[in-house]
């Protein structure tokens, strides 16, 4: 009964994951590009340089690499977030988003373990990296993993509404 219902647990998690992760990604990309927290506003080029400086503070990559990441990541976040929301080729985007969130989680855990007193940079605004940030990213990773696994499982079985329709015809 649980498995055949149109909104079973797996499907609810997939929907929740799509909405929550897409929301996080789209807002994160937008915030990095436009810095709504800054008054007066700064042009996107400057906002991206500020983001590159935040990546620098993690002390993981060289200045040129952080510059490249800063000029790529926000656009990727918005695009993947939108694709996840649309739901087209869900398994592909869910897998990619899970890999990205896993990357974020690793970076945040590493910085926290190293005792780096820096800003997270997750939403561009000054937000100190704390244990709360680690838990938040951990929760997002859990959601992303569940969404991806369930998306693959669901793809193997037709949706009950579709199955019923095809049986009728």
């Amino acid at each position: 009964m649980l498995q055949s219902a149109p909104f079973n647990f797996r499907r609810i998690i997939i929907w929740l994951g799509r909405i929550v992760l897409a929301g996080f990604f789209i807002y994160a990309g937008y915030a990095k590009l436009f810095r709504p927290d800054l008054t007066p506003r700064v042009p996107p080029k400057m906002a991206l340089t500020l983001f590159a400086m935040q990546i620098d503070s993690y002390q993981m990559v060289s200045g040129n690499v952080s510059k490249w990441v800063a000029h790529t990541l926000p656009f990727a976040e918005i695009a993947i977030g939108l694709l996840l929301l649309v739901g087209w080729q869900l398994r592909i985007w869910a897998t990619i988003i899970t890999a990205i969130v896993a990357g974020f989680f690793f970076v945040v855990v590493r910085a926290y373990a190293m005792g780096l007193q820096i800003n997270c940079g997750c939403f561009a605004k000054p937000e100190p990296l704390t244990l709360g940030t680690v838990f938040r990213d951990g929760a997002l990773l859990l959601l992303a993993v569940l969404m991806t696994v369930f998306a693959y499982q669901e793809a193997r079985r037709p949706h009950p509404w579709i199955a019923a329709a095809s049986e009728r015809s």
Binding site: T39, M53, D56, S66, K67, I118, N119, L143
Partner: protein, 238 residues
């Protein structure tokens, strides 16, 4: 078991969600706060300070011996530093020296060194006091460099004085010791720290860049020279 899985997962998610920073916490916006507050005079200072401080571009309580560049530069940058912090060492040795050379020495940027000794570092205030005294006898650059370069050594044994002695002559060392012992410059270090607290600095290094138009950009942590350069160039081109 099967039925309890959804419930357990939901509870786990709710638990994680509870750890999310509340909007007010997450905001913490040094940016907005700094725009208005960084320029406020700090109550505890200038009257008590035995040495004359200056005001540049609305930024008060600047010890002129701890600055690089020209006061009329289009950009002013306050760098809040703790001599015992590893990221400060990295910022100073790999980025700030180049920034000073290419921007401060060319009249584009006025750099203000602000001491921000953190409580958890046993010797950072002592180092700040000695560095301040050295700055007042004209040995700021050499002493800051030797303190950062030998950070691991003196933080292990607390021998700040011995580290300074490697770059100062005995006569200079005597003057520095006299200044430290007289405690006449301690208020300047404390004034810097108070400025940091007023500007919501809670991490080191924190670089606060001020433009002539009143924009304030706090930059937390280590920053590579490539990105610092790009940002300064963008501000200068505005």
């Amino acid at each position: 078991m099967k039925r309890s899985l959804p419930l357990s997962l939901t509870l786990a998610m709710v638990g994680f969600a509870a750890t999310l920073p509340k909007p007010a916490q997450a905001q913490q916006t040094p940016v907005a706060a700094k725009t208005t507050s960084a320029r406020k005079p700090v109550a505890a200072t200038p009257a008590a300070a035995p040495v004359a401080t200056i005001t540049v571009n609305g930024i008060t309580d600047i010890d002129p011996t701890k600055t690089i560049g020209q006061k009329n530069a289009p950009l002013v940058m306050e760098v809040f530093t703790d001599f015992q912090c590893p990221a400060c060492k990295q910022l100073y040795t790999t980025t700030l020296q180049k920034v000073a050379e290419n921007y401060a020495n060319t009249g584009k940027l006025y750099i203000i060194h602000r001491d921000f000794p953190l409580q958890q570092h046993a010797y950072s205030r002592i180092a700040a006091n000695y560095a301040r005294a050295a700055a007042h006898i004209g040995k700021d650059e050499a002493v800051e460099l030797v303190l950062f370069q030998n950070q691991e050594k003196w933080e292990a044994n607390g021998d700040v004085k011995g580290t300074l002695a490697t770059v100062l002559s005995p006569a200079e060392m005597k003057k520095v010791e006299a200044l430290v012992e007289s405690q006449t410059l301690d208020t300047l270090v404390e004034t810097d720290r108070q400025h940091g607290l007023t500007a919501a600095v809670n991490q080191t290094p924190t670089s606060v860049i001020h433009t002539k138009t009143g924009q304030v950009f706090p930059v937390v942590g280590f920053v590579s020279y490539e990105n610092f350069k790009a940002f300064l160039d963008q501000l200068l081109a505005q």
